[in-house]
């Protein structure tokens, strides 16, 4: 709006308009739940965005101080309810770290299958919802159709479709049922075609590109400074993935797996699949890149699942035996982060030596990812606000806990 005038204090305006404060949310179709953004707008131009969170605060951390680790598993499900398995996994690994529990090999591979499958489901929701934010409805339903298939698989494995409580400290509640791997294989075989469809409808769609390219550019420095993690961080070109770089207790799950971190280096992404090209105008760290990283992670996760299924079917040992419900925890404190679909989910556990933790703390990835909105949405158009917030792919359940 401002033009180059000699005196920087004098700005030329077409028409003098009054600034307006607009409440976007907590009841708004594209704030992904109950996020409330207070926008200060000058016409269509948003000069300031203030996120207000906490509408979904359910005191999970406080509840965790009154339950044993296994009892708290269902509460982790409800944090990032789109990636319940990954939440379970993060908490289980944290508890196992405190207990110094050695996991059987088979359980590790089972966890990889389940966690990566949930990553696909979560990214599909993120992708579909992003399409919805930009005003196209069909990809959302395509994505949900595929997610339904994953939920069917999960239902076969643990009986639940959303809040699984499947992975527990010590392994998993149950082994995969007979014939499950075959079903999973069938699912994966048809998935690539769907992803190509989504690329046609979104990634390479001209309007989609125009709406996302060069919008909400998050520089790597800013991303790191704001504690952004996961696809948001990698979309800015930072080569960091806890599955490769994380703590031993987490990375040992992926020992021997062949995978590359999805991150742009020298203008292109690691490619072993026929990816659509990066548009010329795309700037590293814009909404398009964040979206694209998620799309590629789906393919990466498919690959990991295939590898994991091979290993799982030949692995020795048990699927793991869950720890006792009132297992006594050693005194001490541990912190562990895992790579969840939306970023790094950390759990901090302080134990006073009883079976009930003294303090449980969940470090939410979306919490940090969302905090960058204020920076990204300064001076954008109103329509870009959902585009930016959608590209961060937030889940309010995780932010508010």
């Amino acid at each position: 709006m401002s033009t180059d005038v000699d005196d920087p204090r004098i700005v030329e305006f077409d028409v003098r308009t009054d600034e307006m404060l607009v409440n976007m949310g907590p009841q708004h179709p594209s704030t992904h739940g109950v996020l409330r953004l207070v926008l200060r707008t000058d016409g269509e131009i948003v000069s300031e965005v203030t996120p207000h969170i906490g509408y979904l605060h359910r005191c999970a951390e406080k509840i965790g101080e009154n339950l044993t680790p296994r009892q708290w598993i269902p509460y982790t499900d409800r944090m990032d309810y789109l990636a319940g398995m990954n939440m379970n996994l993060g908490w289980s690994l944290t508890v196992e770290k405190l207990l110094n529990y050695e996991l059987p090999e088979k359980a590790r591979h089972l966890r990889v299958i389940i966690a990566e499958l949930n990553r696909i489901a979560s990214h599909f929701v993120g992708m579909g919802a992003y399409g919805l934010d930009l005003g196209t409805f069909s990809p959302f339903l395509y994505a949900f159709r595929e997610r339904e298939k994953i939920l069917d698989l999960f239902e076969d494995a643990c009986g639940a479709r959303l809040t699984y409580s499947y992975i527990t400290p010590g392994g998993a509640t149950d082994d995969l049922p007979a014939g499950w791997l075959k079903k999973c294989e069938t699912f994966l075989d048809q998935l690539l075609a769907v992803i190509d469809e989504c690329h046609t409808l979104l990634t390479t769609n001209e309007i989609f590109i125009r709406r996302t390219v060069n919008v909400g550019v998050l520089s790597p420095e800013m991303a790191i400074n704001y504690g952004c993690t996961g696809p948001v961080l990698r979309g800015s070109g930072v080569d960091h993935d806890l599955r490769r770089d994380g703590e031993e207790r987490y990375t040992e799950m992926y020992d021997g797996y062949a995978f590359e971190v999805i991150c742009e280096t020298d203008g292109h992404y690691p490619s072993d699949h026929d990816y659509p090209p990066v548009p010329e105008s795309a700037v590293l760290g814009d909404c398009w890149h964040r979206f694209y990283v998620r799309m590629l992670e789906v393919i990466q996760a498919m690959d990991l699942i295939r590898q994991a299924m091979d290993r799982y079917s030949t692995a020795e040992g048990d699927y793991g035996v869950p720890i006792k419900l009132f297992e006594k925890l050693p005194k001490g404190e541990v912190y562990l982060e895992t790579e969840c679909p939306r970023g790094q989910m950390g759990f901090y556990l302080v134990s006073d030596g009883t079976s009930i933790p003294w303090r449980t703390r969940a470090r939410s990835s979306c919490f940090s990812n969302l905090s960058v909105t204020e920076e990204l949405c300064r001076g954008v158009l109103l329509a870009d606000v959902p585009a930016v917030v959608g590209s961060l792919d937030i889940v309010m359940g995780e932010i508010d806990r």
């Binding site: 800013m222 960091h240 770089d245 404190e333 912190y335 901090y348 470090r363």
Partner: protein, 176 residues
Amino acid sequence: MSGPNLVDQLKQRFGEAITGANLEAIDPWIEVSPQGLVEVCRHLHDEPGLEFNLLNCISGVDYFQPDEKKAKKFPWDVHLEVVYHMWSLPHKRSLVLKVMLPRWKDDKEGELPEVPTVSGIWRTADWHEREVYDLMGVRFIGHPDPRRILCPEDWVGHPLRRDYEMPLEYHGIRGR
């Protein structure tokens, strides 16, 4: 992952600010005094070879057992901790810093303990510190936007404190 030499380095450089360390713990940690926190953090963030540029989490822990029967067996001194988990992207290692605080400033009930803010070093600390303030009741000196974040702005008390009691009523809604 932080070896004893890091502690020595820091002690050499900051002296009194480094008040302790526990290198035997599962996640070894270094204790910093509130006064020295900002300098230590800036050093950790900027110093080549350290570069802890990703602040993962700031947590508050309340070590206080309100139940008098259990308090006898309570394994810690009564205090409040603010724990900083950080990660160095270039060197792929983590670090835990702790700041020990009294539960109330000057032991006066209701006076929140104070820590300088590190939001000038890591912007992500902004929201995390707000959360610690909101739920645990630690005042961060110099914080740019010291509001509650999860609870409503007119909420009374800090819910994650061990002696916190749910209000009887909040705007006509029964609390307990």
